[in-house]
Symmetry: C2
Subunit: 345 residues, 2 copies
């Protein structure tokens, strides 16, 4: 069973998932070997993965057989275990609990060579639907406080399998980065009775020089204090705390927006590795105690879901780890200009 451990000084949890690694020499990055050519995510290899938990399939095709368009499966090497109680405990001044959670793979296409930046809008629409369905389903489990959806594209971005896929991790803890956003958003709302993200969007639209895309439903920004070259964020214009509450119109618009954004990145930066990460609200469907209710009371007013996109262009060195302070060699205004000027065919 993996363990969740909390750093005694800084409020940061870590998953210790020992089963994934064995001996020290397994971790020498120089020794990573190329794939063998076999891909468990390709159509026809359904019996090489754990049984699917959700899929979009051609009518008449049986689960765990060919005929699917999107297929969600548990990760064969999960960082967290789906069964078991949390069993929170202290060990002297240390805090820990069982590594209970879900770790799923959203296989986005039966086609190994498919690319999101070439996808149709209806395909992306369905991918977002799969995110929503899985988040909604996992949030029924009261052990889970947070569902994090993310996509690693390219080996330098951490993708260990090239076949196009996203991942979903359901956690018993709201992660530190999200907590920081929730906390600031709550403070801002308390003071101003406005959403801090809505305020950022309004100011960026007025200033204009960090707006990569702007349409009816979404805005794509190169954030004012971007940590990385060409870092971007997609915000819905309609204030909403919860990704799963998006309507069909918005979802279709997000499909087009993400497609164009990734295409501009691919053209400008020669198809770089990237990560995208969905920041939606924590699981609010459980818990009725007064503390919890109080905590969530303003959440739908103060938080605003968004998607962060980080092309992986620079190496993270000691300075960044040691400080949490980033050096970005490209001003977001310049990133914006390059991305806007990209010629899409």
């Amino acid at each position: 069973m993996p363990e969740l451990r909390k750093d005694p000084v800084v409020d940061r949890w870590v998953i210790i998932a020992t089963e994934r690694g064995q001996r020290p020499y397994d971790f020498n990055p120089e020794q990573v070997t190329a794939g063998t050519g076999f891909c468990p995510f390709c159509e026809g290899n359904e019996n090489k993965t754990p049984p699917e938990v959700w899929a979009i399939r051609s009518s008449g095709s049986a689960p765990n057989s060919p005929g699917w368009q999107i297929r969600v499966i548990p990760n064969k090497f999960p960082a967290l275990a789906i069964e078991g109680e949390l069993n929170r405990q202290g060990l002297g001044m240390f805090d820990m609990m069982n590594g209970v959670g879900a770790h799923e793979i959203i296989v986005e296409s039966p086609d190994h060579g498919w690319k999101v930046s070439d996808a149709s809008e209806s395909k992306l629409f369905d991918i977002f639907r799969s995110y929503r369905e899985r988040i909604t389903d996992l949030q029924k489990d009261t052990r889970f406080r947070y569902c994090m959806v993310f996509r690693n594209y390219g080996a330098a971005a951490g993708a260990s399998l090239a076949h196009p896929h996203s991942q979903l991790i359901a956690l018993a803890i709201t992660p530190k980065r999200v907590k920081e956003e929730l906390h600031s958003a709550k403070e801002w709302y308390h003071e101003k009775e406005r959403c801090i993200f809505c305020d950022v969007i309004r100011q960026e639209l007025v200033m204009g020089d960090r707006v990569v895309l702007d349409n009816e439903h979404f805005v794509v920004l190169s954030p004012f204090a971007a940590r990385f070259p060409f870092e971007l964020a997609i915000y819905p214009k309609r204030h909403c705390h919860d990704f799963t509450l998006m309507g069909d119109d918005e979802r279709r618009s997000l499909a087009g927006t993400l497609r164009e954004t990734l295409k501009r990145i691919a053209v400008t930066l020669q198809d770089p590795p990237y990560n995208y990460i969905l920041h939606t609200c924590p699981n609010t469907t459980h818990g009725t105690g007064p503390t919890r209710v109080n905590y969530w009371l303003t959440l739908e007013h103060d938080f605003h879901w968004h998607l962060e996109i980080v092309p992986r262009l620079t190496r993270i060195a000691g300075f960044e780890w040691g400080t949490g302070f980033y050096i970005n060699p490209v001003a977001p205004e310049n990133s914006t200009r390059f991305l806007r000027e990209a010629e899409l065919e």
Copy 2:
């Protein structure tokens, strides 16, 4: 002039240092080319670097000529500018200031192929002396709140030049990661009147299974909630908030401790890339206003300097960026065992 910008939601500053990068294609990691063979840090090439600010030299040798053992120079491509005022300003809801700071390189040996893990103790003693001298000197500048010393070893750890060197960055802001430690340490001290780091050391020494090294002056731990495989921290046993206040005995002991630690890492993990980062207290030499004095009042009691060592064995993917939540495939108890059992000739 580089800019410091603060994220409006999360309390995180970023250096926008545009001069360092030019066009988008400069950032394609596939296009990084090997060095030309010329090394500006090698003995004899002193005129290819900015003039030295400090050095240990053979008696009689002139500054900026051969004959040195350790040489400190300003970074030729600094992330921050040494001249100028901070000029703090707001831009609507955004905060920014001039990117004023120092960025120095500590060239640790005239010999290109020299390795810290093979160093003599007296050599490491001198390197630590150079850290102390430069921190002490830069802290006289009241614009600087924090001096961060770090070392990147190997290209995967962010070292752009192979010649052995450390770096020092003096900042107008205490970085987020350090602030989090300072904050927790202060709260703990307020509650218990004990240093939180001293408490961690005591508990780890009792438990024993994460203690890699333990001698008169220092203890090397694989932290309970280590983020990365084989992550380590070196703590002085004597409570002290400030690296520069280390005595000669301690400095000699630290030299031996770091040397053995890096040797054990090199043997166990086949000479991996790594970062080490010094966490010492912020600059306390300036400012006499009541708020500032109050802030520093308990610092010498509650903070405890330490050195973090992070071998770079795993890739950081979207999950880690999105959450601040880490998956560590090697339990620190196992790292400890492997490192303890390493055969050092």
